[in-house]
Amino acid sequence: MSTQREKVLASGIDWHVIAESEEFKQMMAKKKRFTVSATIFFVIYYFTLPILAGYSEILNTQIFGSVNLAYLFALSQFVMAWVLAIVYVRHADNLDKLVDAIIQKNKGG
């Protein structure tokens, strides 16, 4: 059984060359831009809930009958997470195409 390291060497992939290649750098730049902005967005969105619940009365505002802002905002967190997950999958599917091109080019040999 070969170790991970031996397998990689045998596959002949030059990781450094790929890491420095323009295609890979561009793919990573796109990926990071999305991940960082999405993360900042959902972290702020999520923590707004416990902070508003703890430090203000605004969530007690009743919207439909007894249904108040607290419930609607908490429910919106679920929707936010689902929508963001779907948006991420679309974005990642696009990145997959760039990754496939990188893999084709560097498949070892």
């Binding site: 059984m1 170790t3 991970q4 397998k7 990689v8 596959s11 992939i13 990781w15 450094h16 790929i18 890491a19 890979f24 793919m27 990573m28 990926k31 991940t35 999405a38 993360t39 959902f42 972290v43 999520y46 923590f47 809930l49 416990p50 902070i51 619940a53 703890g54 430090y55 969530l59 007690n60 009743q62 439909f64 009958g65 007894s66 249904v67 108040n68 607290a70 419930y71 908490a74 429910l75 967190q77 679920f78 936010m80 997470a81 689902w82 963001l84 997950a85 779907i86 991420y88 999958v89 990642a92 997959d96 990754v99 990188i102 893999i103 560097n106």
Partner: protein, 499 residues
């Protein structure tokens, strides 16, 4: 009646274990189900692995007794999966083999990093396991009037049988069946509750408000310290992505793309489930009443079963009891396989035997490790009878978020990061979480606790990051920096990933 449903579940899962055992020949089968699970199957299994009896019975009870705060509590359990999806799932699948330590040790000096990572995994799993088993013993006693010791030993033996013989394949299908049963039971209960209010949300809320006052629908009945909520939120959001028993599920799918698909499936199931707990909680509060719920169990754990009884009689109660039993089994089986991997794959095969153990030897040790983990868990759970162990779940999340997550992030994204940093980071996170919980109101008298918060995340997570940074700058490791490109390209493209 309950016994018949029970027996049906046990026979079905043992049959699956028999089927899976014939397909479990090597370590890849044992730890990763031969990477044969599809994305959507894995998504359901993740939901089954994650939604514990604490979620099902605990949150329904919390909503029944404290209204809105129970719902507030459940939001973080779903949002946490965004970190898993965006940052951890795909790189882990691309760079590891069987355990979390595979990724952490990738570019480091393997022995120290694997040892500490195995320690952290074992700590998290032990805390989670004891919380599950002790809770299970109490719940099964209430539901079926079976003796605590008998139910712990029954659950313990079943979880060992699944894992030792059927490995990850059996564990996966037990988790899938459990998730389907749990969702089925929850949907039926929710619809029955909703029907009482002519399927009108506003009517339901108005009725609840009329009976318990509008405060019941507002924040503040249970959580009075806002800092506590923020600290809990941090531990949930950063801890879920560091839970070993959730993360190893990503090794069971063929590619990183399937790992991605599985998180999305899991998120829809888990989210739908937590939204429905509101119906269970309100239904129990309205139709059963606070007094009856509290008389059955002070913590409110009996809210959902009592609701089932009120709506569907003895048969439905038996069904929900069986669902709770399946829920517990699926979670503890996942914990056993995760701890067995930390011990057998990380500690034995890679640290003690330096990666030289034969496939046959590794398989044997994996099975023995699963038996060992099972026996130790049973003994600990028997000893912890009548102890309040609910805080152990908070502790597990604190360790996962403070010890594991900083090191996961740094090894993936920080080139300068090295062995010393990984070891100091994990140890700092682990020790900080343990210490802060020991001096918190969880363990000490709430009036005189040295550390005021029950969830230490807001302090222990930054300490975990700090420990990793300081350790990194204390040493230089050109080899780890040189291998960064390899891990970076591999984790982001899947080149060279285990197939």
């Amino acid at each position: 009646m309950a016994f018949a449903i029970f027996a049906a579940f046990v026979i079905a899962t043992l049959f699956i274990t028999y089927w899976a055992a014939k397909r479990t020949a090597n370590t890849e089968d044992f730890y990763a189900a031969g990477r044969s699970i599809t994305g959507w199957q894995n998504g359901i299994a993740i939901a089954g692995d994650y939604m514990s009896a604490a979620s099902f019975l605990g949150i329904a009870g919390m909503i029944a007794l404290f209204g809105y705060d129970g719902f507030l509590y459940s939001v973080g359990w779903l949002v946490a999966y965004l970190v898993v999806l965006l940052v951890v799932a795909e790189p882990l699948r691309n760079s590891g083999k069987y355990t979390l330590a595979d990724m952490l040790a990738y570019r480091m000096n393997a022995k120290p990093v694997r040892s500490v990572a195995a320690l952290s995994t074992l700590a998290i799993t032990a805390f989670y396991m004891i919380a599950q088993l002790v809770g299970a013993g109490g719940i099964i006693k209430l539901l079926l009037d079976i003796d605590y010791n008998v139910s712990i030993i029954t659950i313990g033996i079943l979880m060992m049988l699944y894992v030792v013989f059927g490995g990850m394949l059996a564990t996966t299908w037990v988790q899938i069946i459990k998730a389907v049963l749990l969702m089925g039971g929850t949907v039926i209960l929710s619809i029955m509750v909703f029907a009482q209010y002519n399927f009108n949300i506003v009517t339901m809320f108005d009725q609840v408000s009329l009976k318990f006052g509008q405060e019941f629908l507002e924040p503040g009945l249970k959580f009075t310290n806002p800092l506590e909520n923020v600290s809990l939120g941090l531990a949930l959001i950063l801890g879920t992505a560091g839970l070993p028993h959730v993360l190893i599920r990503f090794y069971t799918v063929p590619t990183a793309k399937d790992a991605r698909t599985s998180v999305v499936w899991a998120m829809f199931i888990i989210g739908a489930f937590y939204i429905m707990t509101t119906f269970l909680g309100f239904g129990a509060a309205m139709l059963v009443g606070h007094e009856t719920i509290l008389n059955a169990d002070k913590a409110g754990n009996m809210a959902a079963p009592l609701l089932a009884q009120a709506l569907g009689g003895e048969f439905f109660l038996a069904f929900i009891a069986a669902v709770a039993f399946a829920t517990i089994l699926a979670v503890v089986a996942g914990l056993v396989i995760s701890a067995a991997g930390a011990f057998a794959h990380d500690f034995y095969s890679n640290v003690i035997r330096g990666g030289k153990a034969s496939e046959k030897e590794q398989m044997k040790v994996a099975r023995y490790a699963a038996i060992g983990v099972g026996v130790v868990s049973i003994v600990l759970a028997l000893m912890a009878k009548d102890q309040n162990v609910a805080f152990l779940v908070a502790l597990a999340f604190a360790v996962a978020s403070s010890a594991n997550l900083p090191v996961i992030l740094f090894s993936l994204f920080w080139k300068r990061f090295n062995t010393t940093g990984a070891v100091t980071g994990m140890l700092t996170g682990l020790i900080a979480s343990l210490t802060l919980v020991l001096i918190s109101p969880n363990v000490m008298d709430p009036e005189n606790a040295i550390f005021p918060l029950t969830n230490p995340g807001i302090v222990s997570i930054p300490l975990g990051f700090l420990g990793a940074i300081v350790g990194t700058f204390m040493s230089r490791e050109p080899e780890a920096e040189k291998k960064f490109d390899e891990l970076y390209v591999r984790s982001n493209t899947g080149l060279g990933a285990e197939e």
